[in-house]
């Protein structure tokens, strides 16, 4: 054991249930090994806190910063789930050994690490998608208030649901959420077609992501004050196909 090892012995620490042991985003070098109890590893992905893993005795955490030299901050938070005892190691000793590892093992380990990171992101995306799907556009206002709106400037073609295919009106989508959208149209459009609350329109547009989407919604609000010759409409989606829900969901997440 050289001088550095003597100066940096392994430390034992105890945590109570609920204690935060490691915080995502913080600088850190310590490598932890659970001796007693269980810890939960979580990551903030957008608005969601995602549980990545539950670790028990004999398992390590805090290793990401050690294994991935290009990263200096903690990639996840770790919290004690019960009475926890951890062994804390300074990476300096392991670092030497890691650098001296057979290159093939280092090569494989790095890929396992990258795959883990990518799968964690995929997991968060899938969770979000499932959450969006389960709420759906027909939920009452509660779900919609929680979702943010994206501002847009996207032309669209729309027509009343109960009308012939020959009717083709043009509008401009100003903002969109998973529950509805805001649209601005020329007041001339209202000359022959009713633009009043309750009217149901079918709208075709191409999202900035390049995906085409078909949306069906009912007018909730009509405003003629915004600009001369223009009418502002607020629509709530009434029916979206599974495909449209998915496309819109992904767009809102991007």
């Amino acid at each position: 054991m050289d001088a550095k090892d003597r100066a940096l012995p392994t430390i034992r620490l105890n945590y109570r249930k609920g204690d935060l042991i490691m915080k995502e985003g913080d600088y850190g070098v310590s490598i932890y090994r659970v001796k007693k109890g269980h810890v939960r590893v979580t990551q903030q992905q957008g608005e969601m806190e995602v549980v990545l893993a539950t670790l028990g005795p004999g398992e390590y955490f805090g290793e990401m910063v050690f294994l991935n030299k290009s990263v200096e901050t903690r990639s996840a938070s770790v919290r004690a789930m019960d009475e926890v005892e951890v062994e804390v190691m300074h990476p300096v000793r392991l670092s030497k050994e890691y650098d001296g590892m057979p290159p093939i093992l280092r090569y494989i380990t790095n890929q396992t690490l990258n795959r883990l990171n990518r799968l964690n992101k995929l997991y968060a995306q899938l969770l979000k998608k499932k959450e969006l799907e389960s709420r759906g556009p027909t939920d009452p206002g509660v779900a919609q208030r929680k979702y943010f709106r994206k501002t847009l400037d996207q032309t669209c073609i729309y027509k009343p649901v109960r009308s012939s295919d020959k009717v083709r009106l043009q509008g401009r989508i100003t903002d969109i959420s998973v529950g509805g959208l805001g649209m601005e149209v020329s007041s001339r459009n209202a000359l022959n077609v009713r633009h009043e609350p309750g009217e149901e329109f079918i709208i075709h547009t191409t999202l900035p992501s390049g995906r085409e989407i078909e949306l069906i919604g009912k007018i909730q609000t009509v405003s003629r004050n915004a600009a001369p010759g223009r009418i502002q409409l607020g629509l709530k989606f009434t029916r979206l196909t599974g495909e449209a829900t998915k496309t819109l969901g992904f767009f809102m997440m991007s």
Binding site: V41, Y60, L94, I104, L105, I108, T109, T112, R118
Partner: protein, 131 residues
């Protein structure tokens, strides 16, 4: 991704697979470690709603390595399928294993945790995707 030169010293065999051919089947027993030499493979997982693609691997990518680190896990957790014609190399698992065992308990434990977490995240994705 270029193929690391260290890989060639451990390669014991090469196989070619046509498009869509299953290289590793989920649930099968095996502990060979593979490297993609040419082409691409897709990693897929069975879920309640069918097969879900977890990743697409390209030249230089390793797959099948989890049993190397987690000795108890000898059942393949994912299906690996050729995406277009593909050439894979098979690595000398026993030699890799011997070298892995020579590492200190701490470094071994650290890497095992990584493999365990990869295994767990594969399982979690399967559950969410199948909902």
């Amino acid at each position: 991704m270029a193929i690391d030169s260290s890989v060639y010293g451990y390669m014991v065999d090469e196989h070619e697979y046509p498009d869509k051919k299953v290289i590793l089947e989920e649930g099968s027993i095996g502990d060979w470690v593979y490297v993609v030499l040419e082409g691409q493979v897709k990693i897929k997982k069975k879920t309640a709603k069918g097969l879900v693609t977890l990743a697409t691997l390209e030249e230089g990518a390793i797959f099948g390595e989890i049993p190397l680190f987690l000795k108890r896990e000898k059942l393949r957790e994912t299906t690996v399928q050729a995406h277009g014609p593909v050439k894979v190399g098979i690595l000398d698992t026993s030699r890799l294993d011997r070298e892995f065992e020579l590492l200190s308990p701490q470094l071994k434990g650290l890497i095992k945790t990584l493999a365990r977490r990869l295994s767990e995240s594969i399982e979690k994705i399967s559950q969410v995707a199948g909902r």
